[in-house]
Amino acid sequence: MDSDDDFMSAVSSEDDILPDDSDNDDLSGAEDFDFDDEPDPDLGMSKDIGRKRVAYDISFKVYQPADIQKQQDDLINEVNMILDISKEEAAILLRHFRWNKERLIEDYMDAPPQVLEAAGLAQEPTSLPRLEVKPGFVCDICCEEGPGLASFAIKCGHRYCVDCYRHYLSQKIKEEGEAARIQCPSDGCDLIVDARSLDLLVNPELKERYHELLNRTYVEDKDTLKWCPAPDCQNAIECGVKKKDLDKVVPTVSCLCAHRFCFGCILSDHQPAPCELVKKWLKKCADDSETANWISANTKECPKCNSTIEKNGGCNHMTCRKCKHEFCWMCMGLWSEHGTSWYSCNRFEEKSGTEARDAQAKSRVSLERYLHYYNRYANHEQSARLDKDIYTKTEKKMVQLQKESGMSWIEVQYLNSASQALQTCRQTLMWTYAFAFYLARNNLTEIFEDNQKDLEMAVEGLSEMFEKPVTELADPKLKVEIMDKTSYCNKRRIILLDDTAQNLADGRWTFNVELTGSAPTSGGPSNRR
């Protein structure tokens, strides 16, 4: 256990990484992120891969809605002052430049008219847009006219009645989900309706939606920002890991809402497997899982062309529909060698039959191999799905313990820690099987499988203790055992992830599939470079 000891001493000074008994990995993980409000877009991440405290750890920041708003406001104020344009115009310019302030200022200094035009802004400073009643006005959209018909125009002067303007804006916002690029309703006019004009026209509900959409474009425009995908979570995460690094690192981040996910592909935490393998694996499972089991149980392959054949009745004389090869279902040998002994195959020792069965066995091996990994993956996935139950049960147990044994709240927290550790470790275990499926056999793989086995045994052990009845859980001896086991599980997980991430960063894994280097975007096929 030399390597383990080395590892422990290397990180032992950082007690937030190796949680002590009552400390929980997840919570302690969240503590070492910097939550101050100061915007700091340059994380310089990619340079640091591999030189972290532990190899799988990456730095990131969580931003709450107010932070996101503040970042935008700060940028807008800055541009507003530097370029001497209104805040609304600064916002439109920034959005046009995808919030790249430096490029905006540079381009604007070069050629203000072109930049303004491209961004959809008026060049002539005119009076602020407001609702007006103009005599003789006819709305070009609804063709209504009449005294007292209020109308509105942005700086281009294309004037329409208030009802039409409102209708237009609400359709853009509500139905098309558009906010940053709503243009003047006039045919061929690409002036952008600014936030101030919009606020003048629409009702508060629509206004709120509009600003929500604007915030969304801010996060979506920046490559270093991503929304937390957890339902109802409004936070965004900033992380500097680039798409091209995804074959070297599995950038797992954890939101304030406790959801842990991969910054690369937005799926739930899938350490240690890199995004591209995860995509491949999920696709394979979606195609294969149930079918593969059935195929394994009910079919054989044609000895000649390897087509999968189901025997759904009739005699043992099989004719492959694809290649017309005739063979015996029982011994897989050539039918022609069966002579007249039809319907009863007793020729097990014949050469052609033996060869055919060997080939059959080989093609089965790949299927069996997949099923081996899939079943273990699915098992841990299922256990992970029961997390919610476990968690609610834990809470009940903790309350019960507090009542029955007179322990304080803080004294029963070890159950919470154990439950968290179980969930996290099972999630990791699940993906170790998907990862292992794609690993070529070599020494590294064996070390990986040892680590996997250690973690799995630790997890199953903890799982067993955890399910004891409350009366036994109150036993101080068991409490210490659970705390020890929890800590051990967390340590085993860190060791496994650290080892895997380190090898990934150094490019030492050998996979039995081709990795393209740039990970696929969600949904799409893998990219070629």
Binding site: D140, I141, C142, C143, E144, H158, Y160, D163, C164, H167, Y168, Q171, E176, E178, Q183, C184, P185, S186, D187, G188, C189
Partner: protein, 178 residues
Amino acid sequence: MASQKRIAKELADCTTHAPAGMSIALATDSDVHKWHVTLDGPAESIYSGGKFGLVVTLPPEYPFKAPVVTFATRIYHPNVTNDNVGSICLGLLKAENWKPASKLLSVLQAVRLLLVEPQPDDPLESRIADEYRRDRAEFDKNARAYVQRYAKGPVKFDGTNVGADAGAAGGSGKRSTG
């Protein structure tokens, strides 16, 4: 309703000042949301001599939503589906480009312009677009054959002169994705 007034005005504009080579009428007098347009193949185009039926359907939300324009007459063109639906690819009509102040008159003029200048870079029929770019003589021949076969005689809007088989009129007619 506001849109009725607008449509009535546009219809009046289009019928009194109909653009060259076009005649416009309602499909049925009771419904202002469906227009039948007869378009003469522009003299400067390969479609010259043909008469094409266009169906303009105005959605209930018009003018806030774009109208839908389809060819009722079969036409051999990179930007019109080579089937009996006759969908048109026109940038102006896409939801993100449509403006409530856009007028049907300009839509119809855009369709006419599409016959003069096909847009092979934005095709609905990529095979025809390829042919248009690579072998103009063959494209012209096929397009003329379609005009002869489908676009002569009185225009029908009920789908009876759109033909059933795609290949008969000279083009190999195999639809590619658009």
